[in-house]
Symmetry: C2
Subunit: 403 residues, 2 copies
């Protein structure tokens, strides 16, 4: 019998399945109320628009929609994105934009283009799990920065930048998993430090349009477009199943990412790109994003209310101004991974926070998604979880003690 | 000004833009007859079927089509592929199949999972350019095997296998760029050697269904499914713009490729997968593939006739039984890259063979694509190229002498 295990590359030993995706499978039973995924609300999908767009594209532009296409992406979609991202003092063109098969692909390609083994990379702790998994093969040395309600604690950054890291990765808006947002004052200070120490930035912004309270804040890319690789996505503002995102970056780095794109998968589907362009080109997002905000604001508000009502006082949680997630912090001795096993028996699910953290931190944290549950599910699910927690905290030092 | 060039990973220095894709751009002017691309005939696309499939999927299964999805791919599409690939004595299930965003993505992911820097890899010479580009970052040591009309010269293989290479990559059917096919006798001998020396195989088979003469030959995967990673694609039998291909492989290696898929782009678009499944599920390919074969057979035949008629006797070419390409060999002193500059002035284009070759070989070769030109274009284009060649060969030792 042929032994494949002898053949794997050394880097493949670092790879592991995403625990989120494995959990997603477990929690798909219909009787479980799941706050585990990161899914947008399917009832928010502009189904009829997408259907009409697909029909139009396949009637009028079928040859281009079904043929091989350019690695850079559909020119008119790149133009649309460039225009939408332009601001007074920041004029973008299609040459600043590369279309990718979702922002996850961009993270993966940035790793290939920028990261050598053992490079020093700065991240929020906790940070986006998909980035940690994609960059795992590089065996990076992470320098972690704590976060609070204003996001990354920028006062910790300068000492780290003095050690000359290769780059900093962050999700400044409604971060996954915490839901926190980097304040404007901190963004300005961070850009000053980035300039001073010449550190590259990956600004991952899939949730930026989904703000439910507070004021929009300029992106790091708007504050310094020379030094920032910006990742955008249509997954949360149109639909994830089309798999279309983009990178906005200065041409030298965009060129390199384009080379990676060519060798990775030649190009993203022109059909799905054309559908997206057809959906968004005439102002659709200006109507649709307010609808999404209203829908998700209500879900966030109900989840926060239910947390107040049903969770015991020893438990804390973040209060996000947008996005899809909030993070719960349990008392130190309660491991969320253990809690999950009991929660599933109580027909409610979440993602333990361990995997979002670099190092051993976060075992007493968990992430709750509020975008993909109906209001009554949020009410019932948080009540179930709250009851379980009260039970657990009574048994303190027993069932859930850390080994 | 921020200096991105200081930030690139060492491996990014190996990356370069695909010359094929750059050339594709140059030759898209409407007055140029291009044999340069590798495009299927757009008139072969089942446009109306795809449109109806998209409409049905977006009416009936819109939530699943537009939501995040499983990394493994659509279960019913994996079932379909497993069934279509099954043979007496070889029963596949969905667990043997992983959906990818085109076979190029599979090549890229196999590199990540199997290849360490400086690994020894066996290839046909010339071989598929997209593989050479995708695996360039690994700085591989290639062991090359010559080819003739029966494909890879298997008698050269044993000496190479004794040096314990990691794997062999090959396109056994209607190879890109040469169009040659590995004979059944050689496949059996190759499998014997593969077993004896325990070398892994990547069998890339995008063209297998496109046979215009001769008999179908069992794949290496059919001969030994334990040791072969098989790559298939809908790009040439439905349409490339949907970006759907697959990997068939034993579970241990498929699991690792799945992990790479998760971190690369989470999953392939469920919409395009559902469209493909809707198009193919009721026997469509049984009608469609014979139509494709008839269409391309005629184009191949006309190109071969025109080559006989217009090309000077010093020039040779392959006579493929299928696929999209044939390869032309010029006299040794005529570099195809130089010839291309003149050819474009004469309004005809092709791809020089250099880039398909490992090492310095092949500078006097070029690849012609016959699938994406009308019959009259083939007639006129080959005549133009033949006239240019006659002119060039008269000036022998002059204009095109190698430096």
């Amino acid at each position: 019998m042929f032994n494949w295990n002898d053949k794997f590359a050394a880097r493949a030993a670092h790879m592991k399945r995403s625990s989120i995706r494995e959990i997603l499978k477990l929690t798909q039973k219909p009787d479980i109320i799941s706050f585990a995924g990161g899914l947008p609300a399917p009832e928010s999908f502009p189904v009829e628009r997408v259907r009409q767009a697909a029909d139009k594209v396949l009637r009028e532009r079928f040859n281009d929609a079904l043929q091989y296409s350019l690695s850079e992406g559909l020119p008119e979609l790149r133009d649309f994105i460039a225009q939408r991202m332009s601001r007074p003092g920041l004029t973008l063109t299609r040459d600043n934009i590369l279309i990718v098969g979702g922002a996850q692909q961009a993270i993966d390609m940035i790793g290939r283009v920028l990261l050598d083994e053992n490079d020093r990379v700065v991240v929020e702790n906790p940070t986006y799990l998909g980035m940690l998994i994609a960059w795992k093969p590089y065996n990076l040395r992470y320098a972690t920065v704590d976060t609070d309600n204003d996001g990354l604690r920028v006062e910790q950054v300068e000492a780290i930048f003095r050690q000359k890291p290769k780059l900093i990765y962050l999700v400044p808006n409604f971060q996954n998993p915490q839901g926190v947002t980097l304040s404007f004052a901190r963004r300005r200070e961070l850009v000053r430090l980035l300039n001073k120490y010449q550190v590259a930035v990956v600004e991952d912004n899939p949730y930026g349009d989904l703000r439910y309270s507070g004021e929009d804040i300029p992106s790091l890319y708007e504050l310094d477009s020379n030094q920032v690789i910006y990742l955008g996505s249509f997954s949360k503002i149109v639909a994830p199943g089309l798999r279309v995102g983009w990178v906005a970056a200065p041409p030298p780095i965009l060129d390199k990412i384009l080379e990676a794109k060519q060798s990775t998968d030649l190009h993203t589907s022109p059909l799905t790109q054309m559908i997206i362009h057809e959906v968004v080109k005439d102002g659709f997002l200006d109507e649709h994003i307010p609808r999404l905000r209203a829908l998700y604001r209500q879900r966030r508000d109900v989840m926060l209310q239910m947390l107040e009502r049903y969770f015991p006082p020893e438990v804390q949680w973040s209060r996000p101004d947008g996005g899809l997630f909030l993070m719960v912090t349990l008392p130190k001795h309660v491991p969320a991974a253990e809690l999950l096993k009991h929660a599933i028996q109580h027909k409610v699910a979440f993602v333990p926070g361990d995997d979002f953290h670099v190092g051993e931190a976060g075992r007493n944290t968990l992430r709750l998604n509020f975008s993909n549950a109906q209001l009554t599910q949020i009410e019932v699910g948080i009540q179930r979880l709250g009851n379980l927690l009260k039970e657990v905290l009574v048994k303190e030092g027993g069932l859930f003690a850390l080994p």
